[in-house]
Amino acid sequence: MSLRLTLLAAAAAMALAAPARAQTEIQWWHAMGGQLGEALNALAEGFNKSQTEFKVNAVYKGTYTETMTGAIAAFRARQQPHMVQVFEVGTATMMAAKGAIKPVHELMAEAKEPFNPKDYLGAVAGYYSTPDGKLLSFPFNSSTPVFYWNKSAFQKAGLDPEKPPRTWPEVAEAAKKVLASGAAQCGFSTQWQTWIMIENFGAWHNVPFATKGNGFGGMDIELRIADPLRVKHIQQMADWQKDKIFVYGGREGRSNAKFTTGECAMFLGSSGSAGGFEQAMKEVKFGIAMMPFWPDAAGAPQNSIIGGATLWVMAGKPAAEYRGVAKFLTYLSSPAVQAKWHQETGYVPITYSSAELSKQQGFYAKNPGRDVAVAQLTNKAPTENSKGLRIGNFVQIRDVMDEELELVWSGKKTAQQALDEAQKRGNELLRNFERANK
């Protein structure tokens, strides 16, 4: 009798507790350290406060590669998170894993969440959509390379600090003046050399990176990076090294200090670096402009492509939880949230409405240059060569290009030799990928 009573009491207690029942938890794995991680946590908290049904749990899982591999290991052990942040070079791998992911367009349709793909910037959404325009992953932090110049150095060199060079010959001219006047010890440097000088260089000059629309049309593709225009550009940069017009500062973001310390007067870097540069350079003023181009190339400037990461929704979770994921994505794309994320971090606003909102809020008037990224991405309607890249084994292919470029910078190879070799090695990697994913 007493046991039954206890059970009844327990049942009653549970019934009473029902209104405050445990929230459904949504796991979100990400790779944002430092300040960006704090801004990201604020997004999750904002969502958690906006409703009571779901709780998004943002978990830091290391660098982009560590996060992605962590999610893959978790999937293999059936412990995958609901959402994982994957950098753009992982796109082809995620796409090929059809049974492991849940396309965003499908998720939104099933959860009946309002979703308007037209509001997303074409250059952003196109990168992550199927050829017929269906969004596969949710663009989260996107950036694009822009041109930075140190206004103080320009002034010292007798150049107009408000007039950045627009073309590569103009960059070289400006660099010579800066160097001659002693305003800086180097003309320009670059971050993420493969992303900027190979991948975006192609889009900006409307030349292909790979066949079949840069890989959008299938897996049986070949690289096309050893084209005459790229070879000429890379060789030119190598030649510029002799006079310190160009100085190599390392892979990825390792060259940042070349610009922040004032060693180089000009810099090509991610639009997402602007906030960090402002903090680091304090009173030294710098400007942001569109990337330079070669005036003799037909069609340049076209539009640039993005980098950064998107959120992939992983397969194998109950529908009720997917509803929460969908709600969170809706929250993330709302103009107010997007505009806040964009302004705090320097990443590109992913919807037209949030860009518009930022403008209305007077953000660009106060922070000139922060709208350059969007302007550059939407400079022209994207072509086959400037829609984005969908390359299997892209991480390795980037490593190959990095290695070969470093051989050019250290004078061990000519641009033609290095790009030919990179193309050959890259094609082998593409074949391996094709095989493993059949």
Binding site: N41, E45, G62, T63, E66, A74, A77, S143, G346
Partner: protein, 283 residues
């Protein structure tokens, strides 16, 4: 020494002082870096004299920086997790290894050599190389996000067993004979005689394994998703890994310094036993 040679003695001191300076140099620069603000750290060359931002950085690192948003665990908790992990791994390894070494050295039983080799070939295979399959095992056992998951898989290493075995082989056989004459059984002998004799070996191993456990990075990162299990080394990685912004060297260096303190204290304080234990075992 045998004879007095002032020049040689002077040379010895000079060499050693140079060594001490070389050893200290990177840490000195780290210490200096942690006393400046971020802007100063991005100008070449970095300063060599202390600045006045130490307390400010300390407050940021300890209180606001990592803990500003609720999702980031406080540094104190990460230090505690590191401590739990290091101590558990160290004691766990010592406990299971001393037992198995005892069995292998002091007992005659079938499969003895098989077991010995099974343990022995695991001597040095870092977890980084077998991380994906190990993750799966841990997940299947339901040990993700737990201290057990953080520590137990790393306890599987033969180093300690091997060192205990080497030490036991140097223990005089007469001790065992005497114990037997006194009528002591195997467990009596182990507890009353062998264990006290192994004190210095245990101390030396504790130091080695404590440092090993404390310095783990990739493993805790892969198997934890619950921030209450984060360790301090992961915290540093989180500060260095700023994707598009500039690293805050001043704060990173301070955090590195904080993470370095406990293992250095362990080594320096237990120095005497550590050296003695290692040497005894190796001989």
């Amino acid at each position: 020494m045998v004879e007095r040679r002032p020049i040689l003695t002077f040379f010895a001191h000079a060499t050693l002082i140079l060594g001490v300076v070389m050893v200290a140099l990177p840490v000195y620069v780290t210490l200096i870096a942690s006393t400046h603000d971020q802007a100063r750290m991005l100008q070449a060359p970095v300063p060599l004299l202390p600045g006045d931002h130490f307390l400010e950085n300390l407050v940021t690192v300890l209180i606001t920086g990592l803990g500003a948003s609720q999702a980031a665990p406080p540094v104190g908790m990460m230090l505690l997790n590191s401590l739990v992990m290091a101590v558990t791994i160290a004691t766990g390894k010592i406990a299971i290894s001393i037992l198995s070494a005892y069995a292998i050295v002091y007992f005659r039983f079938p499969l003895r050599m098989t077991f010995f080799w099974m343990i022995f070939i695991t001597l040095m295979l870092p977890v980084e190389v077998r991380i994906l399959p190990t993750f799966k095992v841990v997940a299947d056992l339901g040990m993700l996000n737990s201290y057990a998951g953080l520590t137990v898989p790393l306890i599987a290493s033969a180093t300690a067993t091997f060192l205990f075995r080497q030490f036991f082989l140097t223990v005089p056989d007469e001790l065992l004979e005497a114990a037997r004459i006194d009528g002591a059984g195997p467990m009596r002998f182990f507890v009353d005689i062998l264990l006290p004799l192994s004190r210095t070996s245990i101390a030396a191993l504790f130091v080695i394994q404590f440092i090993y456990g404390w310095n783990q990075y990739l493993w805790p990162l892969v198997i934890t998703t619950d921030e209450s299990f984060y360790t301090i080394v992961m915290g540093i990685a989180r500060m260095v890994n700023v994707v598009d912004a500039a690293a805050r060297w001043n704060q990173v260096m301070l955090a590195a310094l904080l993470a370095m303190v406990p293992p250095v204290i362990v080594v320096v304080v237990m120095q005497r036993q550590f050296v003695k234990g290692l040497v005894e075992t190796e001989k």
